[in-house]
């Protein structure tokens, strides 16, 4: 076990180096990875071959379970113990090409940092909360060679400035919680950049961030390539991000590489069937306007004057603070109405108070000020006992399909719950006929009723969740980010089912989402929330095409579109917008 120079070690790679140039930063040859699980062996990556040139941005796209993350983690040798891999991953280092798959742990440590670095998805968990950020950046420097405390600090300040942290001399001594989410991601990127790696693997670097922050991080990653000359492997499911940043795109499906092309030809002319379907499933702004206008046209006269099912005026919701501290005001003076049969899309970034509004309508969060009338009940000061009788007129679809069903009950038992609770059926078997009908309405086979929630995929579960919400044909439905946890193709299907149900059942709906494009598909009117206030509200085409509020304009401009040429224009427009705001 003598740790020889890794460059001389692999025998397999000698025969490969001859037929490819050494210009590639990383070259993956026939990589396969399997995991040992309780359910047996699972193959996550199946014979993938890729290469990334110097200074190139390669985007690996695919849906969850497609093996994109596993492929990328293999480049750093970051697979868990349960994995076995075959094939080769050649990394171009200062010491020549090395095959990462065959490296020992010690050799891997030498490679990680100076040669290849990683940017993780969730910046708040990638940073250790008990150390100062400067220390965490210096840790990487100290791991690769002796460096004095002072030099390390200077370098940390330097790199923080380069990634756009204002006042880095002071901020270097801050702890992670003193930064915002976007700034934390900048620091994670700074940690990756400080050793000057030739390759950065970015695993969903913007997924956990709001869309306006995402635009800033993408801009930073673009600068990484120009200023530091790093190649980037970008893993993402967001086609807009791909169009914004990537040079070349590799599409993965079920562990296999189905298509590889440069970004403009992939978007303009996708070859593989799966790629075509994936691109078609991406929601685009303006996609739902036609239907919304059509729905508005066929509404009967006098509809605008009908009694709204939800009416908020001066709605204020404050979460109780800890002893001696003021509470947090999540919603502050919001007015809106939802009339029968109308879909109101509520858009906003995280922390804007949109979910709180949805929960307060369902009586899950207490209203602390103003007035919120739901189905004729005043929710400010309502008691659960008096509202319970009206609960059959209200449906709720939750965000997380993984936890929205009791894991010990079958789907049929879960969907039958509203019938039993409101005395329409004595037990689950009694309600089965109605449950079967509902499952068909959401396009699930009847036999799925006998399955347990974990036996359904996320999209199927979310449709079953819709079935439960509309079981009693309620006049009002609240959908809290129903598609955020789903892949685009699944999201498209769920949105289609939602639109069909809305047409057939005619319920009014509050549709909460952070994605303007999704809201645009389903909503009649769109309301934009920002920091607890409603900044803009109006018909879909009005808000999307002629936004009045500065925040709405910025939100709209930040949304990356799945078209590289169009996105390049939007990027410039956004920069102008930001510059004009100052």
């Amino acid at each position: 076990m003598n740790a020889t120079n890794p460059a001389q070690k692999p025998t397999a790679h000698d025969k490969h180096t001859s037929h490819r140039g050494t210009g590639d930063t990383v070259r993956i040859d026939g990589l396969s990875v399997s995991f040992s699980t309780d359910a047996g062996a699972v193959k996550a990556v199946d014979g993938v071959s890729l290469h990334v040139g110097a200074g190139e941005v390669l985007a690996i796209v695919g849906e969850s379970g497609s093996g994109k993350t596993v492929t990328a983690r293999t480049i750093l040798g970051l697979l868990p113990e349960t994995a076995t891999s075959s094939g080769a991953v050649f990394l171009n280092t200062d010491r020549g090409e090395v095959d990462v798959v065959t490296l020992t742990n010690k050799q891997l440590r030498q490679v990680r940092g100076p040669d290849v670095a990683m940017v993780f998805q969730e910046p708040s968990t990638a940073l250790n909360p008990v150390f100062k950020v400067g220390w965490q950046i210096a840790e990487g420097l100290r791991a690769h060679g002796k460096i004095s405390k002072k030099d390390a600090r200077t370098q940390a300040i330097d790199i923080l400035r380069k990634v756009g942290i204002p006042d880095p001399e002071t901020r270097v001594d801050y702890y992670p919680h003193q930064f915002s989410g976007g700034q934390k991601q900048r620091i994670v990127i700074a940690m990756a950049l400080v050793l000057g790696p030739k390759l950065i693997v970015a695993d969903e670097p913007t997924t956990a961030l709001d869309v306006t922050v995402q635009a800033e991080i993408l801009e930073l990653l673009r600068r990484c390539r120009v200023e530091f000359g790093s190649s980037i492997v970008l893993i993402t499911h967001n086609m807009g991000v791909v169009a914004d940043l990537a040079d070349r795109v590799a599409v993965m499906y079920n562990g296999q590489l189905v298509e590889q092309a440069d970004v403009s030809s992939l978007f303009a002319n996708p070859q593989n069937d799966y790629t075509k379907r994936l691109l078609a499933a991406v929601p685009r702004i303006g996609g739902g306007t036609v239907e919304a206008v059509e729905r508005a046209r066929v509404r009967p006269k006098g509809w605008a004057e009908s009694e709204p099912v939800v009416k908020a005026s001066g709605l204020r919701i404050q979460y109780p603070g800890r002893l001696g501290r003021a509470g947090f005001v999540a919603v502050d003076g919001v007015d809106f109405e939802i009339r029968p049969g109308e879909v109101l899309g509520l858009v906003g970034e995280s922390g804007s108070g949109k979910t709180t509004i949805g929960r307060s309508i369902a009586g899950l969060t207490r209203v602390t000020g103003g007035s919120l009338k739901v189905l004729g009940h005043e929710m400010n000061g309502v008691s659960e006992r008096s509202f319970r009788g009206s609960r059959d007129q209200l449906g709720f679809v939750f965000q997380d399909p993984a936890s929205s069903f009791n894991p010990l009950l079958t789907i049929a038992q879960c969907v039958a719950e509203p019938f039993i609770v409101h005395g329409r059926a004595s037990n689950a078997a009694d309600a089965r006929a109605a449950v079967d009908e509902l499952l068909e309405a959401v396009q699930l086979p009847k036999s799925f009723g006998d399955r347990y929630p974990h036996e359904l995929s996320g999209g199927q579960r979310q449709r079953a969740s819709l079935a439960r919400a509309i079981a009693l044909k309620p006049p009002l439905l609240i959908a809290d980010e129903p598609t955020s946890a789903l892949d685009v193709s699944v999201q498209q299907r769920v949105l289609e089912v939602f639109a069909d149900l809305q047409r057939d059942f005619g319920f009014a709906c509050l549709f909460i989402s952070h994605d303007l494009a999704v809201v645009d598909i389903v909503a009649d009117r769109i309301a934009v929330m920002h920091l607890g206030r409603l900044v803009e509200e109006g018909a879909g085409e009005q808000v999307l095409e002629a936004p009045q509020d500065a925040y709405t304009r910025r939100l709209l401009a930040s949304l990356p579109v799945p078209d590289p040429i169009e996105q390049a224009k939007r990027r410039e427009a956004l920069q102008e917008l930001v510059a004009s705001e100052g």
Partner: protein
């Protein structure tokens, strides 16, 4: 082959009843050292249970018997002989019979203590965790206060309060069991309360609330059934501690009188003086019985604990890059469509315990 796979398409695979039974499931799931530990523990525990149930048949004499059928006394501190294979105690009892009967006492005390503390602890934990508010605060403080007492001291106080110094068989067993119960209720309470607090914020509980389900229905149908996962683990771990507490009570003289039932801790106490005078058999066998039973039950508990956690659970290594890629699509948010249609994915959804080899 074609017909079986067609069947599999219609009915999702489900594990047979036998495989889903708690212990059987874990044995099949385990590999290597973990399986060795679990099986050792199970064997010891099984021997303990069998001995306890069939004590009247196994033991040659009664637990309080001083003389044989011929009316002759056994004699005190007799070394092991064909009549008394493990010798006799200072009080003139047969050691082997006392140890066998002692298993019965230990088993009944464990069962009574665990049943009592599970019921009380689970109910209190559920109410406290789900309802919250002042009930929760009061119960948590009371449990913390009980934690602050040395367990054995508390058990002694309880046994004095309950039995008042009397010692019938069931009176003694109940006294011991209840004093152990008081000590262990807080453990069940804490675990169930923590689970209830976690489950309270799960979407399916909120969903039941939105539907309009009553508090009682939510508590028992949704929260209770999902919070009992960890009970078998604490159950086994507590069982071994309960034996130690019982033996400790007996050793200190607060257990069951030798004429009412046999008790290992009491016998150990009486054997103290023997040890220094070279009489080893009176202390060795009861002591060994305590050690083995505690070891066996602890092994079962610890291995079940490890097996319940996917991160601690050992797995067989897979052959290099084996397996089917389509399987992964059943994870949440996975693709809605698959090559060959959705149905081809679903048979893989039923968990196959031994499917380490490639699924065709």
């Amino acid at each position: 082959m074609a017909t079986t796979s067609a069947m599999a398409l219609v009915v999702p695979r489900k594990r047979s009843l036998l495989e889903r039974l708690p212990i059987v499931h874990q044995v099949r799931q385990s590999v290597g050292v973990q399986r060795g530990m679990l099986v050792t523990g199970l064997v010891i525990t099984a021997v303990f249970v069998i001995v306890a149930v069939f004590a009247p048949l196994i033991a040659p004499y009664g637990f309080a018997q001083l003389h044989g059928a011929n009316g002759k006394d056994f004699g005190s501190q007799q070394p092991p002989s064909p009549e008394h294979i493990w010798g006799t105690t200072v009080g003139g009892y047969d050691v082997f019979s006392r140890v066998i009967w002692g298993a019965q006492t230990a088993a009944s005390v464990i069962i009574v203590a665990i049943v009592l503390s599970i019921f009380a602890g689970v109910l209190l934990g559920l109410v406290s965790g789900y309802l919250g508010g002042w009930i929760d605060r009061v119960l948590v403080v009371v449990c913390d206060a009980i934690y602050a007492f040395p367990t054995l001291l508390l058990a002694i106080v309880m046994s004095i309060v309950i039995s008042g110094g009397q010692s019938q068989v069931w009176g003694g067993i109940l006294a011991a069991a209840i004093s152990i119960t008081v000590v262990y209720i807080p453990q069940y309470f804490r675990v169930i309360r923590a689970e209830a607090v976690r489950i309270k914020s799960e979407a399916y509980v909120e969903s039941a609330k939105v539907v309009g389900a009553s508090t009682g229905r939510i508590m028992f149908k949704h929260v209770f059934r999902n919070s009992t996962r960890t009970l078998p683990l604490i159950f086994t771990l507590n069982a071994s501690e309960a034996i130690l507490t019982l033996a400790g009570l007996g050793f200190l003289g607060f257990g069951i009188e030798p004429s009412s039932a046999s008790e290992w801790g009491y016998d150990l106490n009486k054997a103290i003086a023997d040890v220094t005078s070279g009489i080893w058999w009176t202390a060795l066998y009861p002591g060994l019985a305590i050690v083995l039973v505690v070891l066996g039950i602890t092994l079962v508990g610890e291995s079940m604990n490890d097996l319940a956690d996917p991160r601690l659970r050992g797995r067989r290594a897979v052959a290099a890059t084996a397996g089917e890629t389509a399987d992964i699509s059943v994870v949440p948010g996975g693709p809605n469509e698959a090559p060959g249609g959705l149905e081809s994915l679903e048979p893989g959804a039923g968990i196959e315990e031994e499917g380490i080899e490639v699924r065709e």
